[in-house]
Every structure is written in C-alpha cells, then in structure tokens.
C-alpha cells in the first residue's frame, strides 16, 4: 500500500475544486430548491471562454481570468432571468428537465465552438514542484488549493458581512417576508445564479490547471461535486466545502491503494458516501427541514 501524504495533498487540491462546485450547487439549491444540472457545463463553457481570452487572444492571464468571471456572472444571471424564471413555479420535474436541457445546450456550445486537440490553460505560477521533506507538491496543486479556500472564504464573508448577502439569505429563508422588507426577491435570485455561475467558472479554470482543457472538462468533476454536496448536506455551504475535501481525499487514497487502484476508485468513493448517508441521511451538516407550526 503506497498511500502517503502525497495522495492526501493531491486529494485536498482536487477536493478543493469539488468543494467550490459543490458550493455553487448548494447556493442555488438553498435559494431556489433547484439542482442546477447544467452547473458543470456552464463552467466548462466559461473556462473555454477564458482560454479564448488568454491563449487565443493573448491577453494577460489575470485580466482574462477576471473578465471570464464577469462574463460568467452575467451569463448565470441571464440564464435565471430568461430560462429559469418562467418555470420557477412549475412542478419540480419540469425544472429538472429545463436544467438538463441547459446542460445539453452548453455542452453542445462547447463542443461546437471549440474543436481540435486538448488545450492548455495553466496559470503563470511557474512549473515544477515545491519540495517539503520527502514530498514533491506541484505548484499548480498548491495554487488550486489556496485559490479554492480563498474563494470559499470570500463567499462566506459575502453572505455573513454584507448587506446584499444578508438580503439573499433572508430571501432564501422567507421570500414573502423579504418582499415585505422591500427586498426584490427576483433580483436576489438572479444574483444567486450569477454568483453560482461565477464560482463554477473559477472552479473550471482551476481544474484546467490540473488537467487539460477540453469540452469534457467538468463532466467528472460534476459527479464528484454532487456527491460532495450530498455528503455535506445539500443545504449547508460549509458542508459542501468539507464534503468536497472528503470526497477528494477519499478518491485519491482509494486510487493509490493497490487493492482498489484507479479503476475502482470512483465506485469506492461513492460506496463510502453511501455509507455516510446511511448513518446521516441529511449529510454531515445538513438539517432536516423543521417547520414550526
């Protein structure tokens, strides 16, 4: 068995990304009760946009990064306003199908516009690894882990300390009461989707640092992100983050063992998640909905 610190660190970096995507999923689920199945594909599309800005057009990396995030925000808000809002009050199945439709739309867009070989989109942190004792930790991985944690902190701070963040939480908690306070719940929903899309795009760019960039970028990530969100408890942002880290580490540890190996690491990770849910059906930090009569 060759599981070592190396695998755990890889797992944390991977898990950081799962955590952010899971966070984006939880953001939308908490505010609207909708699971955005198109989350990954929207992120992939935005990451391909980033590639266009940075590699194809040759713009400076961080400028392209920020621009992509801005476009992602507008894209998310527009999707909410144009596609989701009309079906908001429809039965759940309709909404699920709509987001699945969005999945197909963005997947097709990505495949259609970006043909050709796998692309590269790495950030300018330099190649190579940092040596800590016996371990070699890739700079890219450190960057991804740090950036993921940074984004999570920013999101938490936004919701906890800003007026708009508070208004969004209020709109989620009780939309009618929020309206009575003068909050535009519709605008909060657009904001939520915009934020979620922005976070997803960032996740996509981070993943592109770890792997090559092609239209299937987020397919694998999305499934793990779902698992992470469920483990953490679909209503808990903190849980999403922790869930992500757990799933990432589990996946890498399982893949490192010769017993399980990389063939079975995916099912192994999911098996452990099933076990977690058997013990705690609401996820580690989720809350069963208690309605006070």
């Amino acid at each position: 068995m060759n599981v070592g610190l190396q695998d755990i660190i890889n797992g944390l970096a991977q898990g950081g990304v799962y955590g952010i995507v899971a966070l984006a999923l939880v953001l939308i689920f908490r505010s609207t009760g909708i699971i955005n199945f198109a989350q990954g594909e929207m992120a992939t599309f935005c990451t391909l946009l980033a590639w266009t800005f940075i590699v194809a057009n040759g713009w400076p990396y961080w400028f392209g990064f920020t621009l992509t995030l801005g476009v992602a925000f507008l894209l998310g808000a527009a999707v909410e306003r144009v596609v989701v809002r009309p079906v908001e009050k429809a039965p759940e199945l309709v909404i699920v199908i709509v987001t699945l439709g969005l999945f197909l739309v963005f997947e097709s867009l990505s495949h259609g516009i970006y043909t050709g070989p796998i692309k590269q989109l790495s950030w300018p942190l330099g190649e190579g690894a940092v040596r800590v004792g016996d371990l070699f930790i890739g700079k890219a991985r450190i960057g991804v882990l740090v950036a993921s944690l940074l984004i999570m902190l920013l999101i938490f701070a936004f919701f906890r300390y800003t007026k708009v963040g508070l208004a969004m939480r209020a709109a989620t908690s009780n939309p009618n009461a929020a309206r009575l306070m003068g909050v535009s719940v519709d605008r909060m929903l657009m904001l939520g989707w915009g934020l979620s899309s922005m976070v997803g795009a960032a996740a996509g760019i981070f993943v592109a640092n770890l792997t090559g960039l092609d239209p299937s970028l987020m397919l694998g990530v999305l499934i793990y992100a779902f698992a992470a969100a469920v483990v953490g408890g679909l209503t808990s942002p903190f849980g999403a983050v922790v869930g992500g880290l757990i799933v990432g580490v589990l996946e890498n540890i399982a893949g490192a063992t010769s017993f399980i190996g990389s063939d079975l690491k995916t099912p192994a990770a999911f098996l452990i998640i099933v076990l977690v849910l058997l013990v705690r059906p609401n996820g580690l930090f989720g809350r069963a909905r208690v309605v006070r009569v």
Binding site: L166, R169, S173, N174, N176, A177, A178, L180, M181, V290
Partner: protein
C-alpha cells in the same frame, strides 16, 4: 374634515378569478389605532396584503398621505413609511434576531439611525436584546411576535400594519404585546392598523373599528360603540 393618513377607497382584490375584497373602504386617521375585525376568511389579511403591495387592486385606490399606494411596489411602499408585521410572524428563522432587525432596516442607509432604532427596539422588547445572537427560529411564539413588530419598527414606519398578533399566543403574552403597541402608538405617534380575530382585545386597544364580513365593511364606529353593538356582541363577543 382633514384627510386621514390612510384612505382605502372601494378596493377590489382578487386571487385569480376569486374575488376576495368586494369594494372595501375605510380611513385611518394619523396617530390612531384602528382595527379591522372579522371572522376567518372575511378578507382582513387580504386587505393588509393589498396595502403592502403583495396583491394588486383590480379597482379602487389606496391613498397614503395623498400618495397612490396601490400603484407602488412593495419596496416603495416600505420606503413611504407603511410597514407590516405579517400574519404568523414570518421571521427569518435561519437569521439571528439581530440580523432580522437589520433586514427590517433594509431600505434605510443611515447607520447611526439604524443603530439607535435597534436600541429602542431592545428597550421595548428586552427579551430580544437578550437573544440577539440566537437564530430567530429558536424563539418562542411570543418572542417571534415581538421580533416581527420590532423588525417592522426598524423601517421607521409612519403606519404600522399588524396582522393578527394574538394568533397562537398565550393571553398573558398577548396582553403584554398589546400594551407595548399602545405605548409605541402613544410615545412615537406611530399610526397603527390592527387586524385581529380577538375582537375584545382589539376593541380594548383601538380607537376605531371596522367589521369585515366576506369582503365588505359591514359595520364601523368608535370602539365603545362597537363594543356595545348588539350584532357585534352576539357574533364576536359571545354575549
């Protein structure tokens, strides 16, 4: 006769094809406590929801200080000074007491004024101050009602709409809350439109009352008069 602070003129409100208010008219003079009475389904909460802009009128108008409230958005109505403490409290259960109060002041920008008003709310309702960092969902029914009223006060209302504050609460707590409402009305000059099922209690605190039945005003008058009225006594006061 001076114009009242709130003039509701012949409003018709519908839920889809169902007409809930068949032409309701009443006036609320500034500085008074006016109560809307009636049984379940009479249209009391619908009236308040219409005033707050959550429902649109099909006909008629609502004038607040001369301004056409019925044409304004819920946000504009709050900014104009008409604020509601809704039926069933509707506090933000996941937010703390403090955050609930902050949300009450959502339309305001003056930090110093907001802080001062929060202190005043804690003076009226000390228990809220004690629990200010607790999630609102953990409060008792009576405390949540106090929070709902405090939250409304944070918007600096000129007219406070109270929707069934006694619902589901023990008589002792209800009496305490109503005394505080009277104090607020007296000391701050805040006009109150009170919707209540507890007719005796409502007529005790209000100056004037309107009795609604199935979407129209059946009867109205000063509270003493209503209390003495035969039909009111038999239908609502039980004697």
């Amino acid at each position: 006769m001076a114009d009242a602070l709130l003039e509701v003129e012949d409003i018709v409100t519908q839920y889809g094809p169902v007409v809930a208010l068949h032409g309701v008219s009443f006036r609320v003079p500034e500085g008074q406590i006016v109560t809307l009475l009636g049984a379940n389904g009479a249209g009391k909460s619908t009236t308040l929801r219409t005033i707050s802009g959550l429902l649109r009128v099909t006909r008629g108008q609502i004038l607040f200080d001369g301004k056409p409230l019925h044409k304004m958005s819920p946000e504009q109505i709050v900014r104009a000074g008409v604020v509601q403490s809704p039926e069933g409290r509707q506090v933000f259960a996941d937010l703390t007491v403090d955050e609930n109060l902050e949300m009450g002041a959502y339309t305001r920008r003056d930090r110093a004024g907001i802080a001062r008003d929060k202190q005043r709310v804690f003076e009226y309702f000390p228990v809220l101050g004690q629990r200010r960092s607790q999630p609102a969902g953990t409060l008792s029914g009576g405390e949540q009602q106090m929070l709902a009223i405090g939250r409304a006060l944070m918007a600096r209302p000129r007219l406070l709409l109270l929707d069934e504050p006694s619902l589901g609460l023990a008589p002792l707590i209800v009496r305490e809350i109503f005394e505080i409402v009277q104090t607020i009305n007296r000391d701050e000059g805040i006009t109150v439109l009170l919707v209540e099922q507890d007719v005796a209690l409502a007529l005790h605190v209000a100056h004037y009352g309107y009795v609604l039945t199935t979407g129209t005003v059946a009867l109205h008058g000063p509270s003493d008069q209503l209390r003495a009225d035969e039909s009111v006594r038999r239908s609502y006061l039980g004697y």
